[in-house]
Amino acid sequence: MNKIIEILEELKPGVDYKNTENLIDGRYLDSLTILSLVSELEEEFDIEIPTVEIIPDNFNSVEKINSLIEKLKED
C-alpha cells in the first residue's frame, strides 16, 4: 500500500491518497496520469495490467489499486 501511495504522490502530489475513495470519479487522476500509473505499477510489482482492468472501479482508491495488484499477482 505504501509503495502505491509513494508512486501516486510522485505522479500527482497534493491529494490525500489514504482517505480518498473517488480518485477517478472525482477527477483527481486523469487519463494521462493513469497511463503513467499503470506503467509504474507494472514495473514496480512485475505484473501486467490488461486494458479491461482499466476501469474507474479498480483505480478509485489506493485499496482498490492494491486489490487489483494482488489479483493480478495471483494470475
Binding site: 510522485e10 494521462l32 496520469t33 506503467s39
Partner: protein, 526 residues
C-alpha cells in the same frame, strides 16, 4: 427511404407494445429478434446477409475463444510456472488469430460498403495526377442500415470475450438479438453485452410503470425532434446550400443551427430508443449527458455520443497507449520531460489514432477526416497548455471553479464544437474553408439576411421558447434532478395536464406538413 423508415419503425413499435405481453415469456426474445430481422430486411433487403455474417462470425469466434480458454486452463493444471508461461503464450496467440480473423472479416464489410467508393475515387484522382491512363470503375453500393453501429457493437462483444471481461455466450439467439435489436441498430447507442443482452432475452412483462415512464421519455424525444430539429432543418439547408451569398455571421448561425439540430435530432432518437428499452424493461445506456455544459473538448466527448467515445477509449485508446512499446516510452519519457509531458507522448499517439478513426467512422469523406483532425488538434492543444493554465491560475490566486469562469469555458467549448460541426456538415473541404474564412473575417451582419433563412418570426419565437425549456431540463439533470420522477409525484390531474399540454404542443407547434421537411435519422448512414 425516410418515410419508409418512420413508418416501419412506428409500425414495429406498435406491434411489440400491443402483443408483447400476450406472448409466453420464452417466446418474447424470438418475437423481438424476428421483428428486428424483418425490420432490417425491409430497410436493406438482401444485405441482411451481412448482418447474419456478422452475427455468425462473432458468435463462432467467441465460442472458439471460450474453448481455447477452457483447453488452456485444463493444460495449466499442475504445471510449473515456466511451463504455464509457455502454454499461456501459445493459447493467447491462438486467441489473437481468431480475434484478428474476425475483425478483418467484419471490417471488410465496412470497407466494401462504406469506404471502397471513397478509395476508388481518390485512387483515380491520384492516377490522373500521375498521368497514368487507367481508372478504376466506381461501384455504387448502398450500405446495410446501421452497419457502422452494429459492427462496432458486435466487435465490443468480441473484444470483451477476448480480454476475458465476459465469457462467450453459447446461446446464438441471445447474441443475434443483442446485435440486431431494431431500435438500436439504426443509430445506437452501442451497448455492451453486459448492458443489454441479458435483459433483452429475459422477456420481462411490459408493466404499467415501465410503459408510462418509457412513453414520457419518447414524448420528450418527439418534442425535441419535431419542434426544434425539424424546424431548424430549413435554416440549416438554406445556409449550407447558399453559403456563397451569406455573410460570416449568417454562416456561423447556420453552423450553430446545425449543431443544435444535430444534438436535438440525435439525442431525441436516443430518447426514443431508451424509451422503448424502458417499456421492455431493458436499460439501454445513455448516449448524451448535457454535452454543452462541458468545460473542454475532451470532456465534451465524454458527454456527447458517449457510447462511441467509450468504444474508442476502451478498444483503441487504452490498447494503443498501454501497449508494451508505449509503456516503455511513457516510463522513459517521464524521466526526461516529467510527470505531465511523459505520458502525453504515448497519449497523443493514441489520440491521433482515435481521431483518425473517429473521423473515418463518421463517413468516407475528406470533411470527416478534417473533422477528426480538428478535434485531435483541439484536444492535443488543450493537453499541451493545461500545465501553463493551471500555473497561471495558482500564480494569480484565481479560482478555476468560479461559476463565471466555468460558464466562459462552456461557451468557449461550445464555440469550438460549432466550428467542428461546420466542417462536418459542409459538403466539401473547399466549402468548409470558404465558410470558416467568412466566419472569422466577414463580420458584416445584415439583418435582412435573417428573414431570408426560411423561418418566420413565429418560428424563431417557438425555437427560443423550446430551447429555453431544453436548457432548464438540462440544468435540472445536471443537478441530478429527475424531471420525470418529479412529475410522477404530482397530483394525477396536474400530471396528465402536463402530458396533454406536451402532446398538443407537439401537434400544434411541431414542424411538419407543407413547407417543412423532417430531418432523417442523420446518423443512420454513418
Amino acid at each position: 427511404m425516410l418515410i419508409f423508415f418512420t413508418k416501419f419503425y412506428n409500425f414495429f413499435f406498435l406491434i411489440i407494445t400491443f402483443f408483447y405481453n400476450l406472448f409466453p415469456k420464452k417466446a418474447r426474445p424470438i418475437l423481438l429478434l424476428l421483428v428486428s430481422l424483418v425490420f432490417f430486411y425491409l430497410m436493406s433487403s438482401k444485405l441482411i446477409i451481412c448482418l447474419f455474417s456478422t452475427i455468425t462470425s462473432i458468435y463462432l469466434s467467441t465460442i472458439l475463444m471460450g474453448k481455447l480458454d477452457e483447453k488452456k486452463n485444463e493444460l495449466l493444471d499442475g504445471k510449473s510456472s515456466e511451463e504455464k508461461k509457455q502454454i499461456k503464450k501459445i493459447y493467447n496467440r491462438k486467441k489473437k488469430i481468431v480475434l484478428i480473423a474476425c475483425i478483418l472479416l467484419n471490417f471488410s464489410f465496412l470497407f466494401l460498403f462504406k469506404y471502397l467508393k471513397f478509395f476508388t475515387i481518390n485512387s483515380n484522382h491520384l492516377l490522373n495526377l500521375l498521368n497514368i491512363n487507367y481508372q478504376f470503375s466506381v461501384l455504387k453500393i448502398i450500405a446495410p442500415i446501421g452497419i457502422s453501429f452494429y459492427t462496432l457493437q458486435a466487435l465490443s462483444y468480441l473484444f470483451d470475450v477476448y480480454y476475458g471481461k465476459i465469457s462467450a455466450d453459447k446461446n446464438y439467439l441471445r447474441v443475434a438479438l443483442f446485435i440486431s435489436f431494431f431500435p438500436q441498430i439504426v443509430e445506437g447507442p452501442m451497448a455492451r453485452y453486459s448492458d443489454t443482452a441479458e435483459d433483452l432475452y429475459k422477456g420481462n412483462d411490459i408493466t404499467y410503470a415501465n410503459f408510462t415512464s418509457g412513453m414520457q421519455r419518447i414524448l420528450w424525444g418527439l418534442f425535441k425532434k419535431m419542434i426544434i430539429a425539424d424546424r431548424l432543418n430549413i435554416l440549416v439547408k438554406m445556409v449550407f446550400s447558399g453559403y456563397a451569398v451569406y455573410s460570416g455571421p449568417i454562416c456561423f448561425i447556420g453552423a450553430l443551427g446545425y449543431t443544435i439540430m444535430l444534438y436535438m435530432n440525435f439525442s431525441s432518437t436516443m430518447d426514443i430508443v431508451i424509451g422503448i428499452g424502458e417499456i421492455l424493461g431493458v436499460k439501454i445506456p445513455e448516449n448524451f449527458r448535457q454535452p454543452f455544459f462541458s468545460k473542454s473538448i475532451s470532456e465534451f466527448w465524454t458527454r456527447w455520443h458517449i457510447s462511441l467515445g467509450l468504444w474508442f477509449r476502451d478498444y483503441i485508446y487504452y490498447p494503443i497507449s498501454l501497449s508494451k512499446t508505449m509503456k516503455k516510452l511513457t516510463i522513459n519519457s517521464r524521466k526526461i520531460v516529467g510527470n505531465y509531458f511523459g505520458p502525453l507522448i504515448s497519449g497523443t499517439i493514441a489520440l491521433f489514432a482515435v481521431w483518425s478513426l473517429n473521423g473515418l467512422w463518421h463517413g468516407a469523406g475528406w470533411t470527416f477526416i478534417m473533422f477528426g483532425m480538428y478535434h485531435f488538434v483541439m484536444i492535443f492543444t488543450g493537453n499541451l497548455f493545461e500545465p501553463l493554465i493551471r500555473k497561471t491560475f495558482v500564480k494569480f490566486n484565481l479560482d478555476r471553479e468560479n461559476i463565471y469562469y466555468r460558464i466562459f469555458r462552456s461557451i468557449k467549448t461550445s464555440f469550438l464544437v460549432i466550428i467542428g460541426e461546420l466542417i462536418f456538415r459542409a459538403p466539401s473541404v473547399k466549402v468548409a474553408l470558404v465558410m470558416l474564412k467568412k466566419v472569422f473575417t466577414d463580420f458584416n451582419i445584415k439583418i435582412s439576411e435573417m428573414s431570408s433563412l426560411g423561418l418566420d418570426i413565429l418560428d424563431y419565437i417557438i425555437l427560443f421558447v423550446a430551447l429555453v425549456l431544453v436548457l432548464i431540463v438540462g440544468i435540472l439533470r445536471e443537478k441530478n434532478i429527475s424531471i420525470r420522477q418529479e412529475i410522477g409525484k404530482m397530483n394525477i390531474i396536474v400530471r396528465w395536464a402536463i402530458f396533454y399540454i406536451m402532446i398538443f404542443v407537439i401537434l400544434i407547434f411541431g414542424a411538419y406538413g407543407i413547407g417543412y421537411q423532417p430531418v432523417g435519422p442523420m446518423y443512420a448512414d454513418f
